[in-house]
């Protein structure tokens, strides 16, 4: 039995559940929005983890789940809570339900795509870059500072420089221009991340179940996710085949970070150097699948369905 949880209408989740249906895989779909009608408990006793999920339709013993695919939205912002005061019992139940679910997923003897702890490497891009570098990828020259003068020197050295958030909080990657340079004094309050701009082709590689799906992205925008806004036209995406060496390297990187499913952002320079910018542990792969026809959601579904039963025992090698 597979547990899928999140917002059922969210595109990536919907694509995976459609594939599970096509495969006739047995799965339970837990909508976060139904939390008021749900209960959950788990217990760790010696070498065993047991528990129950009481969903509106039926009750599931947690030990029956062999795989979990969580795509949880921040439960604080669920529509069901929009009119609730901060200390309402519904809010407390919502937080408590989600906390219990997440805590169970962290230790469950099931395949979880992905657990929170390995996903946390993405909470600091330069920290993750140091782990990425250990796997043999180039990382762009990076400066994090609160000193405007160092930024000016960095820009003078590299010519084109971008800036973006250090943390996982989403930011639009921007190129540093003269106007930005004029307001650099503002960084004195908080160190800010700057990176040398690398020319080349953007590649997004999704890795799951030993497979790598590569998409080349053509765009004039600094951040192709916002291509229409930054460059006036949307990015062009096309499926590409990676060399077996690069494909293996991407799979090893995901494995080293403890990620069952990852979205790896690469740039291949005209000299064939491969830079890695980031590994996204919760990739919104639907954009790439919709534009290239790559069967990413099918691969996720296959990986979920392939998980074997290890009923009740502790997940070995929690890391």
């Amino acid at each position: 039995m597979i547990l899928v949880c999140g917002i059922p209408s969210e595109t990536p989740l919907r694509m995976v559940t459609s594939n599970l249906e096509r495969m006739k895989a047995e799965f339970a779909l837990l909508s976060q929005r139904e939390f008021p009608k749900c209960q959950l408990w788990f217990e760790v006793n010696g070498g065993e983890i047991i528990g129950e999920l009481h969903a509106p339709e039926r009750t599931y013993p947690l030990q029956e789940f062999t795989a979990v695919y969580p795509r949880l939205m921040d439960d604080r912002f669920l529509p069901e809570l929009s009119d609730e005061p901060p200390d309402s019992s519904l809010r407390k139940h919502c937080r408590s339900f989600h906390d219990t679910l997440i805590r169970w997923m962290e230790i469950a003897p099931a395949l979880v795509i992905n657990r929170c702890a390995p996903m946390a490497s993405n909470s600091s891009k330069p920290y993750q870059a140091q782990l990425i570098r250990e796997q043999g990828f180039l990382v762009p020259e990076t400066l994090i500072t609160n000193d405007p003068e160092l930024v000016r020197e960095f820009r003078a050295k590299h010519g084109r420089v971008i800036y973006k958030s250090i943390s996982a909080v989403r930011s639009i990657v921007q190129e540093l221009n003269d106007e930005d340079e004029a307001r650099l004094e503002r960084i004195r309050w908080c160190p800010t991340q700057f990176q040398a701009f690398e020319e080349g082709t953007n590649l997004r590689v999704h890795t799951v179940g030993g497979e790598a799906f590569a998409t080349a992205v053509r765009s004039e925008a600094t951040d192709y996710r916002y291509a229409a806004r930054q460059a006036g036209e949307p990015a062009e995406l096309r499926e590409v085949t990676l060399s077996s060496e690069l494909s293996e390297k991407c799979l090893r990187l995901s494995q080293a970070l403890g990620l069952e499913f990852a979205g790896i952002d690469l740039k291949v320079t005209p000299e064939d150097d491969v830079y890695c910018f980031e590994v996204n542990p919760c990739p919104a792969f639907s954009y790439y699948e919709a534009n290239t026809g790559q069967p990413i959601s099918a691969a996720v579904a296959r990986r979920l369905a392939s998980a074997s039963v290890t009923v009740g025992t502790l997940k070995p090698g929690l890391a």
Binding site: C38, Q39, L40, W41, F42, E43, V44, N45, G46, G47, I49, H93, S96, F97, D99, T100, R103, W104, E106, I107, A117, P118, A120, S121, S123, S124, K125, P126, Y127, A129, Q130, R133, L138, V139, P140, E141, T142, L143, I144, T145, N146, D147, L150, S165, I166, S167, A168, V169, W189, C190, P191, L314, K315, P316, L318, A319
Partner: protein, 246 residues
Amino acid sequence: MWLVLCSSSDTSGLWVYQGLRQLGVGPMELVLSEWLAFGSRWEHRLDGSATQFRVTLPDGRVLCSSRIRGAINRLLAPAPGIDQQAAISDREYAHAELQAFYLSWLQGLPGVMINRPGAVGLCGPWYHTSEWVCRASRAGLKAPVYRQSAHETERGYASLAPEGATTINVIAFRGEVYGERVGEPVARACARLAQEARTELLGIELYAGQDGEWTFASATPCPGLSVGGMPLLHSLADALTEGATS
């Protein structure tokens, strides 16, 4: 130079700083999180092969990664400072940025780091109690039944020792166990727990169960160190200075 990174209220951090200095580990610099919060010039760089870090502290001292040989790292979080000066709407973002920045420069420090940071804790892993119970069981420690449900108050990171129970604290460091004396099997299990959690130095709280057996209560990568006394101080000094010429 070697660093002790801690907050001004961390008596263990201050104790280990004084103790290591008395054992002749030097130059040894005490770096309080409160000073870091107002570091006047931060510079952290990385490229294809190296990571560098430099900060000027409010008292004028400059910490530079090229001169650092190791650190006792007891930083729990960036001290409130910069993020508190952000507009309320930006505070959560500023905090996330600072946390991410600290994680990166700490990861990039060279030499012996006790403990090295990780994605789930700046001075080692801060696992939830449910996960520590799993890990303790797997390491061979007796552990109480842990239960969590959606309609109970979350116990988070609290000790599992029953009220009034006798508790002891030990410190596992590089395969050895310091502090209160426990039997050999329990000591070995504590060392395995630290190893299994990939944490060089781990504090473990045990309580006497009804059968008298030491039972897992909690674990922390930032324990009170004085329970380890001089033997622990000597081991920390040896670990920091191994391979160092001065």
